[in-house]
Symmetry: C2
Subunit: 372 residues, 2 copies
Amino acid sequence: MTQNGTATTTPLPKAGGVVISVDAMGGDSGPATVVAGIAQFLAKAPDARILLHGRQDVLRPLVDKRRISSQVTLCDAPDVVAMSDKPSHVMRNGKGTSMWSAIESVREREAQVCVSCGNTGALMAVSMMRLRKIEGVNRPAIACLWPSRNASGFNVMLDAGADIRADQDDLLTYALMGASYARNGMGITRPRIGLLNVGVEEHKGRAELKVAHELIARAAPGADFEYVGFVEGGDLPSSRIDVIVTDGFTGNVALKTGEGTASLISELLREAFRKTPLSRVAALLAMTSLRRLSKRIDPRRVNGGVFLGLNGTVVKSHGSADALGVAAALKLAHRLAKSGFSDKLAARVAAFSAFTPEPGTTDAPEVDDKKG
Amino acid sequence: MTQNGTATTTPLPKAGGVVISVDAMGGDSGPATVVAGIAQFLAKAPDARILLHGRQDVLRPLVDKRRISSQVTLCDAPDVVAMSDKPSHVMRNGKGTSMWSAIESVREREAQVCVSCGNTGALMAVSMMRLRKIEGVNRPAIACLWPSRNASGFNVMLDAGADIRADQDDLLTYALMGASYARNGMGITRPRIGLLNVGVEEHKGRAELKVAHELIARAAPGADFEYVGFVEGGDLPSSRIDVIVTDGFTGNVALKTGEGTASLISELLREAFRKTPLSRVAALLAMTSLRRLSKRIDPRRVNGGVFLGLNGTVVKSHGSADALGVAAALKLAHRLAKSGFSDKLAARVAAFSAFTPEPGTTDAPEVDDKKG
């Protein structure tokens, strides 16, 4: 089946339905949580099949207990990528791991999409090495969903941390890939794109951002998105954009800052409601409304960063995801696989790189100082 | 009084008490809001005196209306720095502005500290040009307070956006200055410092962060702070650190992301409480508790980024601050002036640069590959 995996249950149907390759090990919460999440997901997705990669002796009882063996095929992989493993180490020595094996299933076209809760750096490194970048993409990116004031409830932000840097051309590619994700994954015909900066004024920010600003503005008409210009951190949940483009360092810090702020506030809120007898009564009365709010901003509901720019779709779930989080990541993977997103994105980026001048050449100064 | 300002009211006492130089113009909310904030502040600070810079014909009636003229000296400055003005433009043409005039009062030692709600870039540029950097500081920084789980309720983060980049030596300086601010401004004897990164593992992040990690760790014992290592965006409100060090681009995005997230949640919370009759009753019952929470995370209460690394203290208040926000910034300025913070910080940085080897030289590889 894969290099290391051996199918041991129901053989998969050759055609029809979505097949998701899942790395069962490597998350902080362990394989029992992953299997619980799969069971939650499968209950609502009867057409889906799962290739489950990991230690068979561990996974077999978990799958049997959940009574999902008719939809799940086990692929034995003896090793596990630890959260602390360096990506370079995993690339050299990771062939026996469940992560590697799960990605291999996508490479071999046995599954349309791969889901893992493991070490992000290693997942990206192995995905890049085995699936390869698509033409026109120098740095792949992770796109994540951000709770927003838009009707859909979410904005897309990329790069959320696939790479720690991005130059002007990468930022342009992120805009193209982000637009494609918003269009195909969220049904937004003409996504509005913003470039994250420290101010909305055109003279602000790093040099590469000013160049990216020009490149993205020029690309917008031909690539079916609207460019709204620079946006700030406060615009991440804004209803005037659908996609926010930034480098992976900034995006990762922003993502974790947003999550940290939300969790501080909900902690303080719980404290506030416990404070007095009156507030405890209030908490009871408001419970339904508060649950609705909490669901709206629950990171587990939007769990699943998507790697963009590779030959194949890989969904990274939170390392600390619980069963609900794993189920959400699987649901996202299912939707993307069904829409044929990976091929559509590749076609969009390829079309764009074929018809535009080399990035950079368009930015040669137009005034010759010697003549002026 | 200053280059452009002319004192027109009570002359200031030569000695004793704190004198705060305030830029009355340039904020989004206008001078009436600034004067209202001054009145709020002065009601609780009878020892303070204000030098108020701006258009006298506008300010005179506002000051008279608030009956604060015994503590306020007007300094006429005809021009205003707009939020959209480029810093370079203000540096060349800003001599007649209230911002310039306010900074000049600190330079001339007529006031111990300056407060402005105006254009951050211009305020930093003019402050740097007129007050000059202290010895040992290459890039000054803005330190801001971040709501946290610590007993004080706050952590310090710097740089919040004075500069858009910082190299390894700047990050070390930020650690020294941040520790000094936490010690003198917040009374934390041995501040715990974290360096913001995309992961806590030592092999993660950009090259300059890995070097800064080493430099700060080595500086810690001699500079009276504890270095806790790399931290992530989610640690900004953490109780295991007091000071978070990062470059100004990342810091600015993080700050605005945190504020944006908090404001999204409080919006959704208000919505949730309006949703049903039951939740509206709950809102009434929980009002006191919710107000307490809202006060805890209200950015206006911690309003005031402090410029660190200059000969003189400058407090930047939010451009959109209301009277409460302006009063908070004045209170912070008052506390810093009283503690003699500016001189203490300069002494700390100078002592450190005098007794340590040139940064960088300590990072030469200790193993000679040719011999190994």
